[in-house]
């Protein structure tokens, strides 16, 4: 199997094997993320002007929208992982789907919560049963289902196949979320950046794009770490059990030997002695 997503870890211990899920690539991505966030935070909260219509509440969109982009990206990872696993049957794509599902739960949750905090001052309500909001809430339930299915006790192949099929079910929901504001009359605003042009410009547009790029770097960092965790967990399931079994056998041998050498036949108890 080829080495995917910077699999040749170089965060090695004294014995030459990895001692964590970090590597040179993840460290570089981590540094880029921290430096990028050091610019995004003051840009989003202080340096950009307030919006003429939304006022300072527009500052929430610098993190709410990138969070939603990563939610879509995570769904794409789950769907692509599912399709490729069903087609190729490879462990790699199954693990991509597993990583995407958990990270998807994170970004779907943050998208919903930050959207609610934006909706209160702009709409006057934290929540409305709008098509986009409702379908996003449904997506969160489905993503949690994907994570839960991975923790069931089905055998490995069955769990992978079921997870792949469940992952595919996210696709129509993600399409509905994206187009809901165009298909139905919606309280949620339509896309601000379209192929035909953006509704914002200048420092606001720059901040938005920078936040999006930095969030994507963070997403890649998370995917690599989560992928490796999923891989290690499977390794532990497969090999950890055999190692534990060998250790127990090794422990059992001296005990058995001691028992054979020193154990005298137990004294015969007279069962009727009491009565």
């Amino acid at each position: 199997m080829t080495a995917p997503m910077d699999q040749r870890a170089d965060a090695v211990g004294p014995s030459g094997v990895p001692d964590s899920t970090s590597s040179k690539v993840t460290r570089v991505l981590g540094i880029i993320s921290l430096i990028g966030m050091a610019f995004v935070i003051p840009l989003g909260l202080l340096w950009t002007p307030a919006d003429g219509t939304q006022g300072d509440a527009v500052r929430l969109l610098y993190v709410h929208v990138p969070s939603a982009w990563l939610m879509y990206l995570s769904v794409f990872a789950v769907v692509a992982g599912g399709v490729m696993y069903l087609w190729k049957g490879s462990q790699f794509w199954d693990l991509v789907g597993e990583a995407g599902a958990e990270i998807g739960v994170l970004f779907c949750s943050t998208t919903l919560i930050s959207g609610m905090l934006w909706g209160r001052p702009i709409w006057g309500a934290y929540w409305v049963w709008d098509a986009r909001l409702t379908s996003t809430a449904l997506l969160l339930v489905l993503l949690i289902g994907c994570v839960a299915l991975r923790r069931t006790t089905f055998d490995l192949e069955s769990r992978r196949r079921r997870s792949a099929w469940l992952g595919l079910s996210l696709l129509p929901n993600a399409i509905i979320i994206h187009f809901a504001v165009d298909w139905w009359r919606s309280l949620h605003q339509t896309a601000t950046i379209r192929p035909t042009g953006a509704e914002i410009e200048g420092l606001q547009l720059f901040t938005w794009i920078l936040a999006g790029v930095i969030f994507m770097v963070i997403w890649v960092w998370m995917m690599i770490h989560r992928f490796r965790i999923a891989y290690l967990t499977e390794q532990l399931d497969v090999y950890g059990r055999s190692v534990a079994l060998e250790e127990r056998r090794a422990e059992a041998v001296p005990v058995a030997a001691t028992t054979e050498v020193s154990a005298d036949p137990p004294p015969i108890q007279d069962g009727d002695s009491d009565g």
């Binding site: 080495a3 929430l60 001052p121 965790i229 891989y231 190692v243």
Partner: protein, 44 residues
């Protein structure tokens, strides 16, 4: 800043969640790596 509680709250939720999850990923990765036998500790 208008609506400061909502704005700062939203940023805190997103950045806080991301930071917490990242920290947890690193911790889980380190703990798992120690448990897996060295000969199986390669990235596929």
């Amino acid at each position: 800043m208008d609506d400061a509680a909502f704005v700062l709250g939203g940023w805190a939720v997103i950045l806080g969640s991301m930071a917490l999850y990242s920290w947890r990923l690193i911790r889980r990765g380190k703990a798992l790596t120690r448990e897996v036998p060295e000969e199986h500790r390669r990235w596929m």
